[in-house]
Every structure is written in structure tokens, then in C-alpha cells.
Amino acid sequence: MIFSKTKITTAYTVEQCTKCGTLTKRKFNEGDVLFSELSKCDSCDGLTRIEKIFGETTE
């Protein structure tokens, strides 16, 4: 159709520090699984845990 736009969905991962609660949003990497502990927090010495994985659609 002339007016239909292509929709692109991008997957994002939201990490939260288990100590200070800082949230970080980044693009999804293969192997990301909810609730898994990943890396050290940038703001403190706590560990970050994946809180959410979701998709955002843009036209």
C-alpha cells in the first residue's frame, strides 16, 4: 500500500543495580536472559541484574 510504513522492532535490555537501583537501558545482546546478573554497576560496586527485555517499534 502507498501509505503503509515499514515497522522496525528493536529489542532492548534494561539492567538494574541490585545495590543502588540505577537503571541502564541498552540494546539486546544474544544470550541476555531475564534476572541474570551481569556486570559491575557504573555508579557503585554492586552487580547489575537484567530486569526487563522488551521491544520498541519505530516506523
Binding site: 522492532t9 536472559v33 531475564l34 527485555i53 522488551f54 521491544g55 520498541e56
Partner: protein, 360 residues
């Protein structure tokens, strides 16, 4: 000579009338056929795409022993004959037996493709296989209905097809769009129930209570909570009714709370949360039947919380709006426990849905 008596003008008026009286149905059949053909072409594309994706996934990600194409094509042609329902007595057990036999058989044979594949990869292949075989079946049925109507040159026969096609296309497109999420092990909209319960289960001891079903026992404000969900992060819905049966056989339950994704009605907001009564669980109905039977025979009230979403949202990568409801749903679960049970009582909380990408 005026226009009224001009024989040529009369012919211009009368000819189309005669044409529509005698050939109206054929003209409609022709116009409708073109639309349906476009739909069938799309369905054929989805079918081919899903098959290719499945074959590529098996070839690239798993160490397949032999060329898997032949076996996959055979899996795609599998059919299930539902039991006779002239005498409905015992039909649920029969349906459950057939469906579970099919699942077990498929699982074992898929495993033979690459015996070293992990359980998580196995569930992924099984889900991709389900999608590919469903799309194949949809294509075959719609094509059959269309060709039959064309063969008989029967316009009324094509009408029901024209009516159902938009709904079928919506379902088929959703299935096709679900493939990337299941391939990469991302959570889908239907996984919101397991996501809420999975988070409640963190930092507690887990045990496998039924096939692909995980249980955690925690204490909450003097109440004993049995948290039940499908075993993630593989793509499975588990067997919550078997798990519940086992819990009830060993404990006295005072309430069951079920959290599930539910199809929203047109006009309803996506990711809206609603509370209600009764077993919130989809599928062919056997799990729901068993949960209802357990609840009835043990006089346990069943409460439910649903997160509304469209068909597409339910089986594709979870949207931000749905993921954002997790905290609200968790607090609603705790409120429900406080409001509907007393200290010292026991509650089972079941996170219903596909647990792809959602561990515990």
C-alpha cells in the same frame, strides 16, 4: 431524436443490467478471488519462510547428525486426530493423552536430529516446529476452501472464506513475526505471568514439581506461598495442573492465584491489568479443566490477574508497556494475598504462559 428513444443509449443502460442479472455472481467471484489469492500468496510466503527459518536454525545452531530437511518436512506433515466426542464422557483425559503423546513423540524425534542439543535448544526447535506446522496447516486449509469454491464456480462458498480471511491473516502474521523472538530466546507477551512469578521466586530454592514445571516455597507475612511456573528460560508452558495436583496432595491450600496474559477486546488498552475469578489459562482446555477440578474438589477459591494484549503481542517480543506492568502486577498479587487470606494460610501463585527467556 432525444436520448430516451436512442436505441444505442438504451443498449448502454440495458446491457449492464442484463450482465449483472445473469453474471453478477461470477463477477463478484472474480473480484473476491483476486483478494483471496493475494492472501493465499502471503500465507504461502509465511509457510515457506517459517520452514526455512526452522531448517536454518537446526543447521546453523545445532550439530545435526544428518541432513535434517527430510525429517523436518516429515514433522511438518504430522497431524492429530482428536478423539470422538459423540460420548463426551472422559473426553478431557483422551484429549490430554493425545496431545501429550504428540508432544512427547515430537520431542524425542526432534532430539534425534542432534542428540547433543540442550533442553533449551530443544524447546526452541519444538516451538519453531509448532509455528511452521501451524502455518502450513493454515495455508493448506485456506487454499483448499478457495480451490473448492473456484472449482464449483460457487460464489456463496467463497463468502465464509472472505469473512474469516482477515482474522486468519492476523493470526498467521503474528505467528510469522513470533519466529525471531523464539529463535533468540527473548520473552514474549504471553510470558508476563511467568515473569512476575519468576521474579518472586528469585533467591529461593527451586524444585521440579512436574514435567518442565518449577516450584518455590516462600513465606510472606505469615502465609506460606507455593510459587509455580513453567521451567525457564526454555520455550515451554509446563504442566501447571500436574504441579498443582502434587501441591494439593501434600498441603492444604486456601487460595489459588493465577497470572496470565489475556486477549484484549478491540478498543481495550493494551497492557491493561484486570482482576477476576476463575482459572486464567488458555490452550485447548485440558489444563484449565484439571485446575478447576482440583479447586472444586478441595473447595479452594481461584483468583486471577490478567494482562491484556493482542494476539500479536502475546506471541511476539514483549512490548515495553507489557514489561512495565510487571511491578504493578506483583504488588496486586501481594495485595490479593493480604486481602483474601489470613495469616497461617497457604496460597499457590501460578504464573501461566510461555516462559521463553524467563528463568526463575
Amino acid at each position: 431524436m432525444s436520448d430516451d428513444s436512442n436505441p444505442l443509449m438504451m443498449l448502454v443502460w440495458i446491457l449492464p443490467i442484463i450482465l449483472f442479472v445473469f453474471y453478477g455472481q461470477q463477477i463478484q467471484l472474480f473480484v473476491t478471488s483476486r483478494e483471496i489469492k493475494k492472501g493465499i500468496k502471503k500465507l504461502d510466503g509465511f509457510r515457506v519462510e517459517s520452514r526455512t527459518e526452522l531448517i536454518n536454525f537446526v543447521k546453523n545452531n545445532l550439530k545435526a547428525k544428518d541432513d535434517p530437511v527430510k525429517k523436518i518436512d516429515r514433522f511438518l506433515e504430522y497431524f492429530t486426530i482428536m478423539p470422538v466426542d459423540m460420548d463426551p464422557n472422559g473426553i478431557v483425559d483422551k484429549v490430554q493423552h493425545i496431545v501429550r503423546s504428540r508432544e512427547d513423540y515430537t520431542r524425542e524425534h526432534v532430539k534425534l536430529l542432534a542428540p547433543e542439543m540442550s533442553e533449551i535448544e530443544l524447546t526452541k526447535v519444538q516451538t519453531l516446529l509448532e509455528i511452521a506446522s501451524s502455518l502450513q496447516m493454515i495455508y493448506k486449509i485456506i487454499n483448499h476452501m478457495f480451490l473448492t469454491a473456484k472449482k464449483q464456480n460457487n460464489y456463496p462458498l467463497i463468502l465464509p472464506l472472505q469473512m474469516i480471511l482477515p482474522f486468519v491473516m492476523e493470526q498467521a502474521e503474528a505467528m510469522k513475526d513470533a519466529i525471531p523472538a523464539f529463535k533468540t530466546g527473548q520473552p514474549v507477551g504471553d510470558g508476563i505471568g511467568p515473569m512476575v512469578v519468576g521474579k518472586m521466586m528469585l533467591d529461593s530454592t527451586k524444585e521440579t514439581i512436574a514435567f518442565q514445571t518449577s516450584l518455590s516455597k516462600i513465606d510472606f507475612e505469615d502465609r506460606k506461598l507455593f510459587l509455580l511456573k513453567a521451567e525457564g528460560p526454555g520455550s515451554t508452558v509446563g504442566r501447571p495442573s500436574d504441579g498443582l495436583q502434587k501441591i494439593v496432595s501434600e498441603n492444604k491450600l486456601d487460595a489459588i492465584i493465577m497470572i496470565d496474559a489475556a486477549l484484549k477486546m478491540e478498543g481495550e488498552d493494551s497492557a491493561s491489568v484486570a482482576q477476576g475469578f476463575g482459572a486464567a489459562i488458555g490452550g485447548i482446555g485440558t489444563e484449565r479443566f484439571q485446575i478447576e477440578a482440583i479447586a472444586t474438589s478441595n473447595n479452594i477459591p481461584v483468583f486471577s490477574i490478567v494482562i491484556k494484549q493482542s494476539v500479536k503481542e502475546a506471541i511476539t517480543l514483549m512490548t515495553k508497556e507489557i514489561a512495565d506492568t510487571a511491578e504493578d502486577v506483583t504488588s496486586q498479587v501481594y495485595d490479593m494475598i493480604r486481602d483474601d487470606t489470613k495469616p497461617g494460610q497457604s496460597v499457590t501463585v501460578i504464573g501461566v504462559g510461555n516462559t521463553a527467556g524467563v528463568p526463575q
